[in-house]
Symmetry: C2
């Protein structure tokens, strides 16, 4: 055990010949202190190597200075840029970052306290918390911001997401208009994944706009996941479903699709165009380079933190922030290299 007897604010006060209140004031700039006094206090802090005790501060001030990030899991190419955005923004705003996955069996319930007491606010990523829990949090007035998720009915929790629908629409439009594809497969994300649903809407809109009949046989589940997508492709090929393009739902799935197709000897994009969504870091280096929709994932993380911080401060926040996406044309759709 490391029972380190660290100096307390009282030690600093004594050393500087002032009261603890004054030390606290120079520490937090929370009241007037004569410059000479402040200097003396700062010097004492320095020489004693004093570091304020976070918990004591929290207890007394009722602020934790910590933000919680709730995720279903740590995985997916998605995760990294988002976390980077969150971490940067949190740090800039002077908050610590507590991370928690909710799929952690066992720990999940026991560690509920992440909310409410350990943090000043919560960032909740897609599907980390069920509607009941979200409702409870909302009712309690605890600051929460949702990422890539719409709150349940009647629950006014601010959300940050990206333009899924229009992004999907424009990439499918591209497939139809430029590459004359007509039988376009859509690979859905995991069951109930909200991004996937919006993307599917965009997909349908694009078809409709070009008078292509929606064929339910062309919508399958790819799980936003390399492996699952590859298996699904093999299954499709086995079933003899005909298609001339695949909108894979996300870039991870695109990797699996391209693998599956290549394995079956089908040329991409010669015979089948393949396009994704997100523009993840590896997408430009795939063979062929992947045409996709760029999603500002890191910015989502930043924006969510900004919203949460404003929410914590009691300032007004956008009920819903939808960040723009952009079509990124590369070669997997059939476009030629520049």
């Amino acid at each position: 055990m490391s029972i380190l007897l660290r100096p307390t604010i009282a030690d600093v006060a004594r050393h500087a010949g002032v009261s603890t209140a004054t030390v606290s004031r120079v520490l937090n700039a929370t009241g007037p202190v004569e410059e000479a006094t402040a200097r003396r206090v700062r010097a004492s802090i320095e020489t004693l190597h004093y570091i304020p005790h976070a918990a004591a501060r929290t207890l007394a001030s009722r602020r934790t200075n910590t933000l919680g990030l709730l995720l279903p899991e740590i995985g997916g190419a998605f995760f990294q840029p988002m976390l980077r955005g969150v971490e940067t923004a949190a740090s800039e705003a002077g908050y610590d970052l507590l991370i928690h996955t909710t799929r952690n069996p066992g720990a999940a319930i026991a560690r509920r306290p992440l909310a409410e007491h350990n943090t000043d606010g919560l960032l909740v990523f897609t599907d980390s918390l069920d509607a009941r829990e979200l409702t409870r949090l909302f009712r309690s007035g605890f600051p929460v911001v949702l990422l890539h998720q719409t709150p349940p009915r009647g629950v006014q929790i601010p959300a940050v997401t990206v333009e899924n629908q229009s992004g999907a629409r424009s990439i499918v439009n591209h497939l139809i208009e430029v590459h004359h594809r007509r039988r376009i497969l859509y690979l859905q994300g995991p069951e109930g994944h909200e991004d996937s649903e919006w993307r599917e809407k965009g997909y349908r809109e694009a078809l409709k706009a070009h008078a292509i009949l929606f064929d339910p046989a062309l919508v399958r589940r790819g799980g936003f996941n390399r492996e699952e997508a590859r298996l699904e492709m093999e299954q499709l090929l086995l079933e003899g479903v005909e298609f001339d393009a695949v909108f894979t739902g996300d870039d991870d799935a695109a990797v699996g699709v391209i693998q599956g197709l290549r394995h079956a000897g089908i040329m991409v994009p010669g015979a089948v165009s393949v396009v994704g969504f997100d523009d993840q870091v590896f997408s430009s280096t795939l063979v062929p380079p992947l045409t996709t929709v760029r999603a500002p994932t890191e910015e989502v993380g930043r924006a969510a933190v900004r919203q949460l911080v404003r929410r914590i401060r009691g300032e007004a926040v956008e009920p819903r922030l939808v960040l723009p996406t952009a079509l990124v044309l590369r070669e997997s759709c059939g476009c030629k290299p520049a």
Copy 2:
């Protein structure tokens, strides 16, 4: 502001008709409580929706139940599996996880308190903290575990890393013995990156074992980074340096190297073998599939947490844990698909 008047332990005690001490005892199983009493207390907790206040607990018990993770940055394919390992293990051990990057200018100094007071122990990843700071931490007796880094001289901080040297040696051996490569380039990681130095040692050993003279012109900096590696390849090609294989130091750099080579019309692995290190998630899907050394990154994260927790508990820990790596043969070295 959300001034939520949450129930305190006193409320629970009153409601259950016991003292706060008894409530605390059933909460922490820290003393004998009659089963009937305990049941009553648990019922009160339930009906009042009582959640213990973490900071108050910390202040009183002098334990934060939180582990800190210090990183230079959130990036690199490396990061994700490691974080997953850390998060899982921390959660399993009943600890929260506080994340901090140290390259965050400005915030860095102000938020020093991450150590010592906010956490029970610190996980420090390569180059997040300088030797002075590490020494200070060590002297103070604060529990720290290093990841992929050797502590400064005289500082006995336990470390967890992987078999860099033998992994590198075996993959270079493979290049020499199986594919008869003789002029093998080594791309170093970032300046002062310890993993890179060990890998270089392994590289040299393999050369020596096969009586190949070490040529300093064949060691260049690739930065463990896609872009930097690609640029370096272009530079090398421009300089006309001759080589028949590249050991890229890590898989990320391999991507850049393959790109650079392909761009110059050089066949991989026909003309030049390319091999990496780490076996990151994308490595098997590169074209050609990358031969590399598998590093148990997630396990490093787990192991580090386990060490740290034991350190916190005052139990004995391994001064240095070196996890095994394994050669993964795919096609980029010249091997044929199975």
